[in-house]
């Protein structure tokens, strides 16, 4: 392999924690953050006060919040990664750099929010990249939410490659079927049929209700350290074999991209695969940042699981659902578990690799790909393995 292997296996995931996921937590985001962090420390078998690195979300809990509320002794590394929904997976890259450089020993990657009972997506002022552009050029035409923007990508793909609503529906149904086997999923007890999918009310066509992810309350936390320290952890450690971030041309706007379907993941993928020394065919499952149904298809294509234009066929006939040829988002994802900014995808990959998933546990799980996508263009891919 090339020099890209430099950060291969530089990070071990030693602890994961989650709060209850709900539509109304009744707690503050800081309280959710503390609960998730303590659960992750317990899972890792470390004292939370040993955490000396922190990877916060750009518009959420701050380093200072966590230092005060967790009584952290010192924090020596706390970058803010402004990549929206790609930040959780990209955080693994920054953790790799810091751990390899000795800047921190135990790094807490955290997401906590009241995304349902607090301000909803249409109400929040985004602090993401390109916001000024969006307010200037999109809002004057009534475009203001991710659903509308991502729908534009979906529509182009549908007409260029023949991707159908039934194929989008296959994504929604697969996620729902996974969630129906996961007691922590918001949609655990709610089944979904293709008829219900097809007849749901339109939001921003081609997206209807069940094409859109949930807005939810809850927190998730992951504790990262070096593989050496991980040997003392309570549970089998999971290693980050490869991780990379990418940014498309014209990251803030769909308009300026020569290749309309190029996303950050497009360029991140080849670097992450090279670092890990593994490829798509080596994966037992993928946890894909499923903000909308088509974006799952698009990322399966751009990460290399199938050629561009063939993602619709790839997801048909339950192929990515429980017991399918290639399971995707076995926790139910953002579409049917909860929207915890993609950190729930890292948690699920870790639990599958440890064999802790009960009814939904994959029979074979040695390696899992995890994608992140944020701010319309930013992307990341990590390859986790046992």
């Amino acid at each position: 392999m090339s020099g890209d292997v430099g950060l291969r296996d530089a990070v071990a995931v030693i602890g994961v924690g989650e709060t209850e996921y709900s539509k109304r937590s009744g707690q503050s985001p800081v309280a959710l953050a503390v609960e998730a962090s303590l659960a992750a420390a317990e899972d890792a078998g470390i004292d939370i006060r040993d955490v000396d690195g922190f990877l916060p979300y750009a518009s959420g809990i701050t380093t200072e919040d966590m230092m005060a509320n967790l009584s952290l002794r010192q924090v020596t590394f706390a970058p803010t990664i402004r990549m929206g929904g790609a930040s959780a997976v990209a955080g693994l890259l920054y953790a790799a750099l810091a751990l390899r450089a000795g800047l921190a020993s135990y790094i807490l990657l955290l997401r906590a929010r009241n995304g349902s009972s607090g301000p909803r997506v249409g109400d929040r002022r985004s602090t993401g990249a390109g916001e000024e552009f969006k307010e200037d050029f999109e809002l004057p035409y009534g475009l203001n939410t991710p659903g509308q923007r991502y729908a534009l990508m979906c529509r182009h793909h549908m007409h260029r490659y023949g991707t159908t609503r039934e194929q989008l529906g296959a994504v929604a149904l697969a996620h729902r079927a996974h969630a129906n086997a996961n007691p922590t999923a918001l949609m655990y007890e709610r089944t979904l049929t293709m008829e219900q999918y097809l007849t749901a009310r339109p939001i921003a066509e081609p997206y209807h209700l069940f094409d859109c992810c949930l807005e939810s309350d809850g927190g998730a936390a992951v504790i990262l350290t070096t593989p050496d320290r991980a040997r003392d952890a309570r549970r089998p450690s999971v290693l980050v074999g490869g991780v990379a971030e990418g940014h498309p041309q014209s990251a803030d706007s769909l308009l300026g991209r020569d290749d309309f379907l190029e996303i950050g993941l497009t360029t991140a993928a080849s670097r992450a695969w090279a670092m890990a020394g593994l490829g798509p065919s080596d994966m037992d499952a993928a946890m894909v940042y499923d903000c909308f149904t088509f974006q799952t298809i698009q990322q399966l294509e751009e990460a290399g699981f199938c050629p561009r234009g063939e993602g619709g066929a790839f997801v048909e006939d339950g192929a990515i659902g429980p017991g399918g040829r290639f399971p995707v988002n076995t926790h139910g994802g953002l579409l049917s578990q909860a929207h915890i900014l993609g950190l729930n995808h890292v948690v699920e990959a870790t639990r599958q690799l440890r064999g802790e998933c009960g009814d939904r546990q994959l029979a074979r799980c040695d390696a899992v790909a995890v994608t992140g996508w944020g701010d319309l263009g930013d992307g990341a891919l990590a390859i986790l393995h046992r």
Binding site: F133, D136, F137, Y141, L152, H156, R201, G256
Partner: protein
Amino acid sequence: MTTGQAMPGADNLAEAYFSWHDQGELRLQRCSGCGRWRHPPLVTCPECGSSDLSWQPASGLGTVFSWTVTHYPLVQAFSELLPYVDAVVACEEGPRVFALLLGVDPDTVSLDMPVRVDFADLAGSRRAVFRPM
């Protein structure tokens, strides 16, 4: 600025773009260095690096590159227009622009459909929109 029209609101490229709409014109940035058209506007040309960009009249002809039909009041000022069609229009000159597509049944919009610019009052401002040809 050595060629073409002086650029209004040079410190705010969006303001500059829409100021032409107020006058009933669709203008796009064009590089004096290499002649390439550009949108969304930038302070330097991504092709040749020149900062000599001016606003030149576009033909107003283009084709539908993608679109979404909004059915839900995601932007309050547009609630009365629901359902409305937002399109990415590929202009004849090359660049793509966002605009509302008017005068069309949302169910009959199609990829590569030819459209022509028009101007309409949107949320209190005169804005370029597109209609089927």
